[in-house]
């Protein structure tokens, strides 16, 4: 299928924004990347996503699609004969991929982003423990799902690779800022090697942020967060 996508996007730091970009790259779909200015939401964004007012938003033939994983599935549905299938073809494998993607967005990523916001050493440790436990679960899942192949999606990058892989930049920043190895080859060997393959993949290379840049960005956000000093949750 032909067609151009168009993405309204605050850009490079957001893991969620990476997801549709990887999907579009996999499908070989040309798209325009509209970078939103940090802190300012454009009229186009507010019109396209009035409910959440968030990026990413995919505009295809003028119609908006919102929510990163919904966009990825849309891309797979809308360009069925271009590139590889992003969702597995088997319904059970599909359900497994969706299950873990939901786990990532609802449990694992909130725990990881909670580390920086944790008030006090105990809370920080609790959040870190959750992240480590999650990685152990994912290591196990990787073994079962990949069945010896390079990606969760098998021979090619698929839905769950995209869902998890987009967090690798932030995972590395978290490791750096806390002086610990999370993607430890000794503890999660399958995932550690998978991460290298994922980051080296053609569809991912150009959109994965550099850890250094991301770390600087994180420091900026943290400083703003501390200055605003919201009440503890």
């Amino acid at each position: 299928g032909e067609g151009r996508g168009r993405e309204a996007d605050r850009g490079w730091p957001s893991p969620f924004v990476m997801r549709p970009r990887i999907a579009l790259n996999l499908k070989g779909v040309e798209y325009e990347f509209l970078e939103e200015k940090l802190g300012v939401k454009s009229d186009l964004l507010l019109r396209s996503n009035p409910v959440h007012k968030k990026i990413p938003v995919l505009l295809h033939a003028g119609r908006p699609v919102c929510e990163s994983l919904i966009i990825v599935q849309y891309i797979d549905d809308a360009w069925p004969s271009s590139g590889p299938s992003i969702l597995p073809s088997d319904p059970y494998d599909c359900a497994t991929a969706r299950f873990w993607a939901a786990y990532l967005d609802e449990k694992w990523f909130p725990a990881m982003s909670g580390i920086a916001r944790a008030q006090g050493e105990e809370a920080k440790k609790a959040a870190l423990d959750q992240v480590v436990e999650g990685l152990s679960l994912l290591e196990d899942a990787f073994g079962k799902i990949s069945k010896g192949k390079p990606f969760f999606g098998g021979d090619t990058v698929g839905f769950l690779d995209i869902a998890l892989g987009c967090f690798l930049g932030w995972l590395r920043v978290t490791e750096k800022m806390n002086g610990m190895k999370l993607l430890d080859e000794a503890k999660v060997p399958g995932l550690a090697k998978w991460a290298e393959r994922f980051c080296a993949h053609d569809a991912v290379k150009g959109v994965m942020p550099e850890t250094e840049k991301l770390a600087e960005f994180a420091k900026l956000i943290m400083a703003k967060f501390k200055a605003a000093a919201p009440p503890p949750q």
Binding site: V65, E67, I70, I71, Y92, R98, A102
Partner: protein, 232 residues
Amino acid sequence: MAGEENRVVLHGTRVSLYSARVELALKVKGIEYELVEEDLMNKSEALLRFNPVHKKVPVLVHNGKPIAESLVIIEYIDENWKEGPRLLPQDPYERAKVRFWAGFLHQQLFEATASVIKTDGESQERAVKEVHEKLKMLEEGIKGSYPGGSPFVNGDNMGLLDIVVCSLFGPHKVQEEVLGVKFLDPEKHPRVTSWVKALNELPLVKEVTPPHEKLVGALQCFRNRALESAAA
């Protein structure tokens, strides 16, 4: 039907709105299944084995293989049983719309109503306000996305989005009785209110809905436990 093969077992309970969703989906598709009634205060060993990550209902076990998370299960049901009514539209953009609103209901609206259930006093008032704001967004969104005449957004039969809204606001009378607050306002949310009313009248929905008193008891219990642990 063959013996063990194609055996469909649902670990759930009808007082759980998530479990009810899956039952509705199975019934819309006309799939025969066995309901293993779980006691949420005393979960079976099988459930914990089938859903070690979350340890929750519902879990669908098909051919001995477990699937957890209600929305994931419903999409599985739609994809695996292609004969019979479809629960999601075929068109990619329409599918995305359904998933978007189902997600909005499942995350945003569910969380907001859960806050109302678990709080009282001023906190509850704030939570009620949030539910009303989100219901307004839903009302606008549904009116905009589905201007057609059919009360169900899926056409002639219930689909994923109908199922999710039914599970959340179908029991609104129970919620009103236990909480003393009105969520659905026919003047502020005419479209959503008439949608829920139409859904509640379906025989399928009546089949999986426990008696009013039972739901009132369960919700009251849940609320009491939540308030107690908040006060502790």
